[in-house]
């Protein structure tokens, strides 16, 4: 595998994946552009096959990248460029494909000659590129091309996922590259933790976005002809068409009120769907955590001894928290009653709010109180294991009332 990485000029699998994603982002743009152009040329509904053919532009993009990187002589690159343009013609089936391939190779060649270190726009997905998908979307909305609109939404969703994956992996890789010389860098564990987070984000986004984009009706319309008639001041009217449902209710059952005054918007049901998916995902994650909890053990990774905090540590922590926790309003124990009284007395005597870290003696000095009984009872309530008795609490209360 290492030899493959070396041959492909990729240090590891992450770089290879990023390279794949960065080529695919260009293919997504060309595919939707190709679909739109074909739609304009042919003047009829675009087919999925045309879109998929556009996606094949991924191959020339990849080939041109490696041609620019691997071929040592310029004449070799020019020859390869010619071949790549030919391949893109073959794959797309139009001369436009050849031209696009030639343009691509031109830019690759230029980058190579100028020895640019930074990756070109062909290789880096960017969130702003999502605006490109707005063009076919608006075109389809204006011309009523349902299939093209669905494809543009789907492509945009796919591009967003690709961007999330690319930037997530890129950030991890960037950090690792920055600290490459560091001895004992826990690469595997960093990749595992941050990589799982990125993968979970992309999967969740994919699970929510892709069905929504695939199931979209493509019925968003903008009437540009009315825009022309009404003049520049007029706003374009958008028309949302409801998706035809699977079965139809007979008209006689509907009665006279065919359209109810209020309908639950479809996004509400989708919101519930998303919440349900999120809940189930959380339950699964919790289940996995519970399973792994029972198998957790200490292990050594390089120079690190990794230990999971067991129940004993957790109990110690909780005990510590319990000790330092503020008194709950629902706590009516003698300890809580004494602590409340102490607090009230201190606050009454202090001009300023006492510091959290102050010891009881410091608090009393600050408040000008010299009550030994209260001091002892408070310390007993706060720090002793046995705590105060109800009699002590009552005695303090009765003393206060006198």
């Amino acid at each position: 595998m290492k030899k493959v990485y070396e041959w492909l000029d990729a240090g590891n699998g992450r770089v290879l994946l990023m390279r794949f994603l960065s080529r695919f982002h260009c293919a997504l743009i060309t595919a939707i552009a190709y679909a739109m152009v074909m739609n304009i040329i042919q003047g009829e509904g675009v087919e999925l096959a045309v879109y998929c053919r556009g996606l094949l532009f991924f191959v020339p993009i990849l080939l041109s990248f490696y041609a620019a990187k691997k071929l040592p002589a310029l004449w070799q690159f020019l020859l390869a460029s010619l071949m790549i343009s030919g391949i893109s013609w073959l794959l797309t089936g139009t001369v436009a494909g050849f031209i696009a391939g030639a343009v691509l190779c031109f830019f690759r060649g230029r980058s190579r000659l100028s020895e640019e270190k930074e990756e070109s726009a062909f290789d880096v997905p960017h969130l702003a590129v999502l605006l490109v998908f707005l063009v076919p979307f608006l075109y389809s909305a204006g011309t009523g091309q349902t299939a093209l609109q669905k494809l543009s939404v789907f492509s945009a969703a796919l591009y967003l996922l690709l961007f999330l994956a690319y930037s997530g992996i890129g950030r991890v890789e960037e950090y690792l590259e920055l600290n490459r010389g560091m001895h004992g860098l826990p690469v595997r564990r960093i990749v595992r933790t941050a990589g799982i987070a990125v993968a979970a984000l992309v999967l969740l986004a994919g699970a929510l976005l892709l069905p929504a984009s695939v199931l979209s009706t493509g019925s968003f319309r903008v009437d540009f002809s009315r825009l022309n008639h009404m003049g520049a001041a007029a706003q374009p009217e958008t028309v949302m068409e409801e998706q035809p449902s699977g079965f139809e209710i007979p008209e006689e059952l509907l009665g006279e009120e065919r359209e109810p005054w209020f309908q639950i918007p479809p996004f509400v049901s989708y919101l519930f769907y998303a919440l349900a998916v999120g809940g189930i995902a959380a339950l699964i994650l919790y289940g996995i955590y519970q399973i792994f909890k029972n198998f957790r053990s200490s292990y050594t990774d390089n120079r690190d001894v990794v230990q999971f905090l067991g129940n004993q540590e957790e109990e110690e922590r909780l005990e510590g928290e319990r000790r330092h926790r503020k008194i709950s309003a629902l706590d009516f124990s003698p300890n809580a009653a004494i602590r409340r009284r102490y607090r009230k007395t201190i606050l009454r005597g202090s001009k300023e709010k006492p510091e959290d870290w102050a010891a009881p003696a410091e608090l009393e000095a600050g408040a000008g109180i010299a009550d030994e009984t209260l001091h002892q009872l408070y310390e007993k309530a706060r720090y002793s294991l046995e705590g105060c008795t109800p009699e002590e609490s009552r005695a303090l209360k009765s003393r206060g009332s006198r």
């Binding site: 560091m182 933790t193 929510l208 690190d304 230990q307």
Partner: protein
């Protein structure tokens, strides 16, 4: 519309993640840096442990720990540290939920000294490495690098001479608390030393033998003047080693010692001064004190630290001056301070050895280091 709602949900989820990390990133997160041992000797190796705990249900993909350490302690790997005036160390950890990681770093004790680590920085990232959080954690760990002992062959020369001086003038007193054994009674033994129980058992008179104590005290005067020049640094370090090794040997021989130096103690900031140290058990204490003494420029001359002898009741004390200073002026000052008594001056040197007049009452020992 649905797509926009989904995007909104995703954005909200991202914000929730960011909010959670902003609020909870340092909850249950602690970093501890500690020396594993309390002390080591020069040129030995020791270890430092970094313990990172993430006691919460949020994983921390990247946690960086950084701290400063004196450059006299050199990390063995030497890779994650940059050395300027001090050594700066940075290590990266990846912590899962409720996890504790212990990393052990080996370092070499290059030179003696007292070292502390008071603070460690924590630099953590959120789940997607998009944001960094910084804080500093107080630490409380200390370490002594004790002076390296001088080889026995080298130290035996001054030690024998000092012991010779000590023994020639010693007054032996029996120590009634230190029992050494029994012997047969001989005429003149005090009655109180007869061991009656042993006598009854053996049927003949037996008397106790006690350990003796040396009444004489040796006061070591250590000159730490000079810093920054390689020769001075080397010779001062050699002087500390010689003084320390001598004191150890004297202590184990049952001699009471005192130490005075013009070099400040790094813990107190005042010149090192130990009035009386005795017993082999004080050896570690003494070595730690020698680890803390610092060489500096423009120190008060060592002559100012010669104690007052007349009327102090310690006129019989033997003085040992350890100084790289070869000047006749210092020798004369020391000689006049000793007066009618006897003293020893040890001069560590390298290459250069100035010829000078030797005072009668000062036994000068040159030690090539």
């Amino acid at each position: 519309m649905t797509v926009f709602v989904v995007l909104l949900i995703l954005f909200l989820l991202y914000l929730v993640q960011a909010f959670l990390y902003d609020r909870l990133w340092n909850r249950g997160l602690s970093a501890g840096v500690a020396f594993r041992e309390e002390y080591r000797t020069e040129e030995e190796t020791s270890t430092l442990t970094e313990v990172i705990v993430n006691d919460k249900l949020l994983p921390m993909p990247v946690v960086e720990i950084d701290f400063h350490m004196d450059k006299r302690l050199q990390f063995s790997d030497g890779q994650n540290s940059s050395v300027s005036d001090r050594s700066y160390r940075r290590d990266v950890f990846a912590l899962s939920v409720r996890q504790k990681i212990t990393r052990t770093l080996e370092f070499k004790c290059v030179r003696r000294g007292y070292f502390r680590i008071d603070e460690a920085g924590i630099n953590a990232s959120n789940l997607f490495l998009t944001k960094r959080y910084l804080t500093r954690n107080a630490q409380n760990t200390e370490f002594y690098v004790l002076p390296k002992p001088v080889p026995t062959g080298q130290i035996m020369i001054p030690f024998s001479r000092i012991m010779g001086s000590v023994l020639s003038r010693k007054k032996v007193y029996d120590d009634p608390f230190e029992f050494a054994g029994l012997r047969e009674y001989s005429r003149g033994d005090p009655m109180k030393y007869i061991n009656w129980k042993a006598t009854a058992r053996e049927g003949k008179l037996l008397t106790n033998i006690h350990e003796s104590t040396l009444s004489q005290k040796v006061v070591v005067l250590l000159d730490m003047e000079g810093l920054g020049v390689q020769q001075a640094d080397v010779l001062n370090e050699a002087a500390v080693r010689i003084a320390c090794s001598l004191c150890e040997k004297l202590l184990s021989a049952g001699v009471e010692i005192g130490v005075r130096s013009n070099g400040p103690d790094v813990l107190t900031g005042k010149p090192l001064r130990l009035e009386t140290v005795s017993g082999a058990g004080s050896s570690l204490f003494l070595r730690k004190k020698f680890a803390c003494v610092q060489a500096q420029n423009d120190l008060t001359p060592i002559a100012s630290f010669f104690p007052v002898r007349e009327g102090s009741g310690r006129e019989d004390d033997l003085y040992v001056l350890v100084s790289r200073n070869q000047s006749e002026a210092l020798a004369e000052t020391f000689s006049s301070f000793v007066g009618k008594g006897q003293a020893v001056q040890i001069i560590p040197y390298r290459e250069e050895r100035k010829p000078r007049e030797i005072p009668q009452n000062v036994d000068t020992i040159w030690m090539d280091v």
